[in-house]
């Protein structure tokens, strides 16, 4: 069969394909499609920076404009990955600077980014536009100053939940007066105070600014000024929302907010003084996203707010909202798609708020479009889980965190197997699931049987034996990310399902029962996997082979074993020099 389409036509057709999966599929059709596709791929997403070598990436895709990388495993967010494990951005930046001088966008998540890396970014890409750093660490405000000073065409600078060495707020003043292209600035995670006049001038000369997320150091008194300068804002993160109660500030806030006709998303609300909350009530009907998860304000205020947000699609809030607030949410916000309820006092068993399973049940009843749930609470029952599952079979993300490990159904004292079983049975499109509470191997049998679209599963303090892990690995066809802590899962399930691991991005297991010996066997027999044992104990070499490892991180890779590991990380079964 001869090709009737010239290359240019095919290339044009391919340009409409934005999804990674589609492009990957296209490139597998035949050699010429592979060739054509690789020349016109513009965005690359690397879910694990150790899965591929940057040189390989650059060789295959020579004309990339946007690179997104992820480094550390997800459990690093909870401090389970020791410092120094890896995830260094610098080697990638060096190669990318060499290979993609016209790169426009870099997005990094859970990576160690040094000031050196930021300086290199700021100087290497003439048309650099977007820098997004999520959960990154290793840099200081000096690195930010370099970005501000050198990236003439920068549009987006977002720092999300990063650990930044805050030397001073002076970095913001490095944006030159000629710099006017800013569209999005998120400095919410920084602590130090920036020069307010520099911020004011920056906002004033950025007509395209759509997203502005301030940090806690920006006082409430300054907010009206900024809003007057940027009434076109679509997303705003306030700074501190606290001040002495003054009527002039109240009215100027009210006025400033009412001018922002395009505002759809609000966040921030550090240190809330409730008296100032009504200032943005007029915005509520237009809001689609509201992040009140730092607002330490009580249920009545929260209830009043959500009751007015008739178009709300995503709500992040503290458990101060209580069941009454969630009930109001279920009645007022029929477009709600995502709900996240965070704990205000998570380290104490006794409840400080009246938030129970009932709140979530109400929302599941009243909000027909609810797809994504993250819910922290203190107790749950199988019947509530089953009710939620039947109410909302369209759930795609369900993350329930019952604060006390291994907490049973508080009504029947049984495990929560059947409740979560209902979830996976009814929610056929479930892609992400986090389990908690008392769970036996049975719940994993349900998951393996029903959760066919499940992409990511998080397990803690659950299961009885290897059978649990076996059910998951052998049954969950779409599983790509599995993270497990403190479960009695061991060698048998892992070795019996070794092939499955090559179809997944990664597997994390910590405080489980997988032995050194099994890790070595796995590493030896599966060349497509890196089997990393992360173990900080001393005298590791004298621990017997059938003893369990502290932590285990297995991921598929075409880059071979890595060589930037600290002493407490070993790649098993590849290089016998490092571990006998």
């Amino acid at each position: 069969m001869a090709y009737s389409f010239p290359e240019e036509v095919l290339e044009h057709v391919f340009s409409f394909l934005s999804s990674e999966k589609d492009r990957n599929a296209v490139s597998l059709v035949c050699k010429s499609w592979y060739e054509m596709e690789r020349w016109c791929r513009r965005r690359i997403f690397v879910g694990n920076c150790y899965a591929v070598n940057p040189k390989i990436m650059i060789r295959r895709f020579p004309e990339v404009k946007s690179v997104e990388l992820k480094g550390k495993p997800h459990f690093a967010d909870f401090n389970l990955v020791p410092e120094g494990w890896g995830g260094y951005a610098y080697p990638w930046i060096v190669e990318i600077a060499r290979g993609y001088p016209w790169l426009e966008e870099i997005r990094l998540k859970r990576m160690v980014v040094t000031d050196e890396s930021l300086e290199l970014i700021s100087k290497s890409f003439k048309n650099f536009k977007v820098l997004v750093l999520s959960s990154c660490e290793g840099f200081s405000t000096d690195g930010l100053a370099a970005i501000a000073a050198n990236c003439r065409n920068l549009r987006v600078l977002e720092l999300r939940e990063c650990e930044v060495e805050d030397l001073s707020g002076h970095w913001l003043s490095h944006f030159p007066d000629s710099f006017t292209s800013l569209e999005s600035l998120n400095m919410g995670c920084l602590n130090s105070e920036v020069s307010f006049s520099a911020l004011e001038r920056l906002v004033a000369r950025s007509p395209n600014l759509k997203t502005l997320r301030l940090n806690r150091a920006v006082p409430l008194e300054k907010l009206p000024t900024l809003l007057q300068l940027a009434p076109q804002l679509v997303e705003l993160g306030t700074g501190s929302y606290s001040a002495e109660i003054r009527s002039d500030l109240c009215s100027s806030l009210l006025e400033a907010f009412s001018r922002c006709k395009n505002l759809k998303g609000l966040s921030g609300f550090w240190d809330v003084v409730p008296a100032y909350l009504p200032a943005f009530y007029s915005m509520c009907p237009r809001l689609t996203f509201l992040n009140l998860s730092y607002a330490t304000t009580q249920s009545p205020d929260l209830t009043k707010i959500v009751s007015q947000c008739h178009n709300l699609q995503r709500l992040w809030v503290l458990d101060y909202i209580e069941d009454t607030g969630l009930n109001a949410l279920s009645m007022s916000c029929k477009d709600l798609q995502e709900l996240r309820v965070f704990p205000s006092d998570p380290f104490v068993a006794d409840a400080n708020v009246l938030l129970t399973e009932q709140g979530l049940v109400s929302v599941s009843e009243g909000c027909p479009k609810l797809q994504s749930v993250l819910y922290f609470c203190r107790q749950f029952s199988n019947s509530a889980l089953t009710t939620i599952a039947k109410n909302r079979p369209n759930l795609t993300t369900f993350r329930l965190c019952i604060l006390e490990p291994r907490a049973p159904d508080y009504l029947t004292f049984e495990p929560l197997d059947s409740g979560f079983g209902s979830i996976v049975q009814h929610c056929k499109n479930l892609r992400r699931l986090s389990l908690s509470g008392l769970l036996t191997d049975r719940v994993f049998q349900h998951i393996g049987t029903h959760a066919k679209k499940l992409d990511m599963l998080s397990i803690a303090f659950a299961g009885d034996s290897d059978l649990g892990l076996h059910y998951v690995l052998s049954g969950c066809e779409s599983l790509r990310k599995l993270e497990i802590r403190d479960c009695p899962f061991g060698d048998k399930a892992l070795l019996a399902n070794a092939d499955k691991l090559e179809t997944m991005r990664s597997l994390w297991m910590s405080s489980c029962a997988v032995s050194f010996g099994a890790c070595k066997v796995l590493g030896q027999k599966m060349p497509g996997l890196n089997v990393e044992v992360i173990d900080e104990r001393e005298n590791l070499d004298s621990i017997p082979h059938n003893s369990p490892v502290e932590k285990l991180y297995i991921y598929r890779t075409v880059a071979g074993e890595r060589f930037d590991m600290p002493h407490f990380v070993r790649t098993m079964g590849k290089d016998n020099r490092r571990f006998k």
């Binding site: 990957n24 599929a25 597998l28 967010d77 909870f78 401090n79 389970l80 939940e161 650990e163 606290s242 002495e244 109660i245 240190d271 809330v272 003084v273 409730p274 008296a275 330490t296 503290l318 965070f342 704990p343 205000s344 998570p346 380290f347 104490v348 400080n352 922290f376 965190c401 490990p405 803690a460 009885d464 034996s465 290897d466 059978l467 076996h470 052998s474 066809e477 779409s478 790509r480 802590r485 403190d486 009695p488 061991g490 060698d491 048998k492 070795l495 019996a496 399902n497 070794a498 092939d499 499955k500 179809t503 405080s511 489980c512 029962a513 066997v521 104990r537 369990p548 490892v549 502290e550």
Partner: protein
Amino acid sequence: MELELTLSPPNQRRQPTKKSGHGGNTVTKSPLLSWSQEEDDEPNKTFFTGDYQQDLDGEGQGLNGWPPLHSWRRRLIEGEWFNERVDEEEGDNMNEVNNIYNESLFVKVKMDGVGIARKIDLNAFHSYQMLTTTLLHMFDKYVEIDEDGASYTLMYQHKDGHWLLPGDLPWEMFIGTVQRIRVARN
């Protein structure tokens, strides 16, 4: 249950069929281990029992990395930030924990070896004896405690930050100065 390894030597392996992208299992390779369909009777004995419940200075939050909150958010909470309320009338931050003019006087109690802390209302007790007895029984579902609690020592944090042994002060004075309590293992 015995492990059954069914590895064949490398040269004798069948050529695996081409995988379609990243999805689906390859069925043709022989597994490293064949799974026996019997249910496992014995739970894994070699369960890793590391120090994942260690405290930090006796004030630690117990289990490492639990509950699963982003470290950034966790740091805010640990700064006791969420538990301070802003009193609208007074305009001050009132730490409810140490306000003896409230009807209830809640303090946190943390026991060594138990991941989750509890809160108790000191105004509900009238003596050290009552307090000790209650505390020991509060935690008995988590840890085995002998009747007289001989293997544990009660300590409290004074409002000036120091950790002290209770008993020196009269009860009414004690409840006015205590910030939090720790039940330490001897």
